[in-house]
């Protein structure tokens, strides 16, 4: 297959089901380019998180059947060996999980965890602090010397974004990264993401329920409904889309709630 040079990710016929044959994702196809901000919209329980996990190849193979192909810069990450996969995860793909509490090591201070990563990836700790300052974490010294369980969900969520942005991966997959943040901080984080995508020529896949985020930042928007992704459109087209009844209902609700 000949790949256009700026294509980062190509998902081909991805299907995920549980071992008991419950279908979660059904025949998903999409591509992602360099400098693209892709937002995936969907309701609760329609497979958003499963999709994000499978793109990073993080699904537990003992629980899920994963079929299809996911090409990251031409390499099928579903068929890579563990060593190659770890290399890609270390350098190229960043993942920001939905639950910030479970993504830090509870036995180590934040500072230790950042230092471990910074040594491995050759980044100075100051860069982490710089990012923390940009996200309104001004008392960074205090925060760095705490254990994850001593911090609130909002702070941990920002730290987990900092940890991911710091090593500048080519692709970031962010699963509801602003769910515990209030609006001013959420806007800060999203603008940081936006700058990351546009200035550093990276790619971001953001998963959310919040259409207002999509309206403000997305290049393209995909609508995930009962495990199927039939609608994936440019921002302007998406908000005028009449392709799916469920999407129409969602968009109407969104317009009603707008001030």
């Amino acid at each position: 297959m000949i790949e256009p040079s700026d294509e980062i990710l190509r998902v081909v016929e991805l299907s995920v089901s549980t071992k008991s044959n419950k279908v979660i994702l059904n025949n998903i196809n999409f591509t992602c380019k360099e400098r693209e901000f892709l937002v995936i919209i969907g309701k609760n329980g329609h497979g958003k998180t499963t999709l994000s996990l499978s793109v990073a190849n993080l699904l537990n193979k003992n629980v899920f059947n994963v079929n299809g192909k996911i090409f990251f810069k031409g390499k099928d990450i579903l068929s890579l060996s563990d060593i190659d996969l770890n290399l890609i995860r270390q350098k190229n793909i960043g993942y920001i999980p939905q639950n910030p509490f479970s993504s830090f090591n509870p036995t180590k201070k934040i500072k230790t965890q950042f230092e471990e990563q910074s040594k491995l990836k050759n980044i100075s700790l100051d860069f982490y602090i710089e990012l923390m300052k940009q996200l309104e974490l001004k008392n960074f010294e205090l925060i760095l010397n705490k254990y994850p369980f001593e911090l609130s969900g909002g702070i941990l969520q920002r730290l987990s974004a900092v940890r991911c942005l710091a090593f500048k991966p080519e692709l970031i997959i962010a699963d509801e990264p602003t769910s515990a943040l209030d609006k001013p901080v959420s806007n800060l984080l999203l603008s940081l993401f936006y700058k990351f995508v546009k200035d550093e020529k990276k790619t971001l896949i953001l998963i959310t329920q919040d259409l207002s985020i999509a309206e403000k930042f997305a290049d393209r928007i995909a609508f995930l409904n009962s495990g199927e992704m039939n609608v994936i459109l440019n921002r302007e087209q998406f908000f005028a889309s009449k392709d799916s009844i469920d999407l129409k209902i969602l968009l109407e609700a969104y317009q009603q709630l707008k001030i």
Partner: protein
């Protein structure tokens, strides 16, 4: 306007970490109004709700319900709260009908009126009476939230606190929820105190909105709704302006 809840100089201080969470809060909420409370995380919104409901005791200050002072929990349980973690308010091994009956024992209903009353409340929150024969595990998240609301409404409390009712709900459910709150407010004359980050949603159905920051109520804004136009004309602080601007609103 008749006052339903009055707070006078409520302060809350945590000795352990020597931090003042609430500073001298004075607030009056009127009968059958919908009062919204917003502010950044950590500004003390939830603590205030806990103090009103009696789950926490204030360090100083007084609470009045219908002009009568009370301490801790309101003695006739007329203040109820819909928790953010609504799924925890159901017993997974108890059928919904039986849970309803348990609540209704408090108010002695005649047996023949029981079902009618349950149906009336379920209608109000948009659930069919077939749910009565189910277990909570058989319902979806949105339905469980409405069920939790129905349980609270069974006793028709005059004052209801909603703690982040819109968190992790999709837009379709939110539109639906707002309609339900408005209906309950009109039919049962329930007074609401709704805590939420999401100012646009509050603007849709609240009569007044209080803005909190660092344990103080900075502003109380009156929302004026006239034919698809929602406006706020009160004078307000820079902080409130900043908060509204983060949602793309100029007031």
């Amino acid at each position: 306007m008749k006052s339903i809840l009055k707070l006078e100089g409520i302060s809350f201080h945590l000795k352990k970490i020597n931090q003042t969470i609430l500073k001298d809060i004075t607030l009056e909420i009127y009968q059958s109004e919908i009062f919204g409370l917003t502010g950044e995380s950590g500004s003390g919104k939830s603590t205030l709700a806990k103090i009103i409901s009696g789950l926490e005791k204030q360090t100083s200050g007084k609470k009045y319900f219908y002009e009568k002072e009370f301490w801790g929990v309101e003695p006739e349980h007329r203040i109820q709260i819909l928790f953010q973690n609504y799924s925890a308010s159901h017993d997974p091994f108890q059928k919904i009908d039986s849970a309803f009956n348990e609540i209704l024992k408090i108010k002695k209903f005649k047996t023949e009126d029981l079902f009618r009353h349950k149906k009336e409340i379920l209608d109000l929150v948009g659930l069919s009476d077939t749910v009565l024969s189910l277990y909570p595990g058989q319902l979806s998240g949105g339905q469980l939230q409405r069920l939790a609301l129905a349980k609270l409404l069974l006793l028709k409390p005059p004052f209801l606190i909603l703690d982040e009712p819109f968190a992790s709900q999709d837009f379709v459910s939110i539109v639906n929820l707002i309609k339900i709150f408005q209906q309950v407010n009109q039919k049962l004359k329930t007074t609401f105190l709704c805590i939420s980050h999401e100012i646009p949603f509050l603007m849709k159905f609240c009569d007044r909105i209080g803005v909190m920051k660092d344990g103080e109520i900075k502003d109380i804004l009156t929302v004026e709704r006239k034919e698809n136009k929602i406006e706020i004309k009160d004078r307000h602080s820079d902080y409130t302006n900043f908060l509204f601007q983060s949602f793309g609103m100029d007031i």
